[in-house]
Amino acid sequence: MAEEVVLLDFWPSPFGMRVRIALAEKGIQYEYKEEDLRNKSDLLLKMNPIHKKIPVLIHKGKPVCESLIQVQYIDEVWHGKSPLLPSDPYQRANARFWADFVDKKIYDLGRKIWTTKGEEQAAAKKEFIESLKLLEGELGDKTYFGGDNLGYVDVVLVPFYNWFYVYEKCGNFTIEEECPKLIAWAKRCLQKESVAKSLPDEEKVYGFVLQLKKAFGIE
């Protein structure tokens, strides 16, 4: 019996990319549905009535919402292949901590970098780099955050890599200068098919952001 898996998503969303990568790592066939966020589908509103946001993972008709929860769900249901979370409880707690850290810091700070200017932008850039350096510390000398293979934190963080270009252009700085180890890590991740096919081209993402800035009157 083919298991029905549907993903409601929006192509530039780093949160959606996390789910795409996780599904690809597990080799799961699924139906991808692109949402127009200015005109949300009835299905999206029905499956995520609380937040009305993508991504939404629908498995056998039942929705799972919130990307970190979705990645854990995928890992638990399809536990036989390419485990994303470690098996040891302490290491699992550590992986969850860093995923939570990414969620607390990277998206919001990144957003401030491309939507603000002057002092506010400078403060965001500073904290953004500090956060990336802390992540570099956690990575250490490992190939991936997950060790020898892609793990939970890799899946959670790497989608922001093709947004780095946006932050760099808008913030006028180079992330590689400050965080070379992290950039090297991201490039290693991109060697993986599951990641490469889940991340859109960074120029395309930048083009999208420029359109957004114009639409919202952000300089």
């Binding site: 498995h59 039942k62 929860i69 854990q72 638990e76 249901v77 409880p89 302490y90 901590f97 850290f101």
Partner: protein
């Protein structure tokens, strides 16, 4: 080797108390260390060592290794001590428990404080957010005794804020967040929850919490 379990917490924090409840439920003995969280300079060197990034409680220390963030700690406790499980077995049910726990922390807890601190339109808006959140949780509870079914689970523990803190704020401020006519099952749940053996020892003293909160509201900061 004897297990060494320590909890760095603070008496007034719902996040800290969640961990106490879970450890009690699992029958895990632990050493409790009260942290002064009002003043950064007074935070213990150990807390700053184990949680250098967020510098917050609760911190669970198990055989010298720190686990941070209350919901992450709850999952760790459930995975480490298998008796009296607090998360369901089914992956979809687990995803739902995690979703609603996050919902409480993101959508119900913050507007309670915004309503208390704010006035006029801002207060009204925050009140509406809380009420909507509670009505949603009423539907999630769906007439059950506990979110976890017959016994308390992770979502009940995560909702400790509603059962106690929210109701204390409601009583002393007069801001009616939770009413039995809109949320009959949830109101009943609150009473059931706070009377559970594993919960009642792990709630702050009511009068102390009220005095503390009033002090904070008058701009004196989170001081004891």
């Amino acid at each position: 080797m004897a297990e060494e379990v320590k909890l760095f917490g603070t008496w007034g924090s719902p996040f800290s108390r969640r961990v106490e409840i879970a450890l009690e439920l699992k029958g895990v003995p632990f050493e409790y260390i009260e942290e002064n969280v009002s003043d950064h300079k007074l935070k213990s060197p150990l807390l700053l060592k184990y949680n250098p990034i967020h510098k917050k409680v609760p911190v669970l220390l198990h055989n010298g290794k720190p686990i941070l963030e209350s919901l992450i700690i709850l999952e760790y406790i459930d995975e480490t001590w298998k008796q009296n499980p607090i998360l369901p077995q089914d992956p979809h049910e687990r995803a739902l428990a995690r979703f609603w726990a996050k919902f409480i922390d993101d959508k119900v807890n913050p507007p309670v404080w915004r309503a208390l601190l704010g006035s006029g339109d801002e207060r009204e808006k925050a009140m509406e957010e809380v009420k909507e959140g509670l009505e949603t949780l009423e539907r999630v509870l769906n007439g059950k005794k506990f979110f976890g079914g017959e016994t308390i689970g992770m979502l009940d523990i995560a909702a400790n804020f509603i059962a106690f803190w929210l109701r204390v704020v409601q009583e002393f401020s007069g801001l009616e967040f939770l009413t039995p006519d809109k949320c009959p099952a949830l109101t009943k749940w609150c009473d059931e929850f706070v009377s559970c053996d594993v919960v009642k020892e792990h709630l702050p003293p009511r009068e102390k919490l009220i005095a503390f909160t009033k002090n904070w509201l008058s701009g004196n900061g989170w001081t004891d």
